[in-house]
């Protein structure tokens, strides 16, 4: 990815395609986020009166099954994209193979905890009212 953005002449950059699975996932989730984050921002901050939903409005909004699917998808996609970005920065430290493996494991655990927390939060909000 760095090569695509460096000061190399365009012809040289074009000869260096990036094919790693992580980069591809980063790109796919990034494109998905343009749609999902836009929807999230519009629904929660631009459409909502006063720029932020009150408690009753949040509960009402989350009771729509389609919204639940979109919000959970948003949570999974944004977490994946964020942690792949963190991975890229950490790997720039020139980690050993073992350290890279451990970093990946730690990021997987963090990702699972993040999504798990988000799911718990959603479930708790829906059930609370």
């Amino acid at each position: 990815m760095a090569d695509m953005l460096s000061n190399r002449p365009a012809s040289e950059s074009a000869s260096l395609p990036q094919t790693s699975a992580s980069w591809l996932w980063q790109a796919v989730t990034g494109v998905g986020l343009i749609l999902l984050a836009s929807l999230h921002m519009i629904a929660h901050h631009f459409v909502a009166a006063g720029g932020l939903r009150d408690y009753a409005s949040v509960v009402d909004y989350l009771r729509n099954p389609l919204i639940i699917v979109l919000e959970v998808l948003f949570l999974i996609v944004v977490t994946t994209h964020a942690l792949l970005g963190v991975r890229a920065i950490l790997f720039d430290f020139g980690l050993s193979e073992m350290a890279e493996k451990r970093t990946m494991q730690a990021l997987w655990v963090l990702g699972m905890l993040t999504v798990g927390y988000g799911l718990w939060l959603t479930w708790t909000i829906i059930r609370s009212a």
Partner: protein
């Protein structure tokens, strides 16, 4: 050992040093900086959302705080980060798939102009609520 450690740190931080570098490196650094900011925001956002589990008074109290001028300004900063990272990331993705590689600098300038316009519109909407 210290030298090895220092060189790894230097290598890892190389992307952030844009002194004397071209527009491509600025774009790359900007993408990473906004990405890191958004990762921090993601986790802060998840922590704040825990207020929803404490019932209407806790959440609505936070909403009142979030409608203050300071928080609205932070919303504008968030929107700037999302627009810059999202549109710059879209360019990186297109370039990664071999699209627009030769005109990547023009594309970067054009997308940042779009981001600036969208930010102005968004800021007007945020402060106008």
């Amino acid at each position: 050992m210290a030298t090895l450690h220092d060189s790894k740190l230097k290598r890892a931080a190389q992307w952030a040093d844009v002194r004397g570098r071209g527009l491509g490196m600025w774009a790359y650094a900007l993408n990473r900086l906004t990405g890191l900011g958004l990762v921090v925001y993601l986790y802060l956002h998840l922590v704040v959302l825990s207020q929803l589990t404490k019932g209407p008074s806790a959440w609505d109290g936070f909403v009142a705080l979030a409608r203050t001028r300071l928080f609205l300004t932070l919303d504008v900063v968030l929107l700037a980060g999302l627009l810059i990272h999202g549109l710059n990331g879209l360019r990186v993705t297109l370039n990664g798939f071999g699209l627009g590689v030769r005109s990547q600098k023009t594309l970067f300038i054009a997308l940042m102009a779009v981001a600036a316009i969208a930010l102005i519109v968004g800021a007007v909407m945020i402060y106008g609520k």
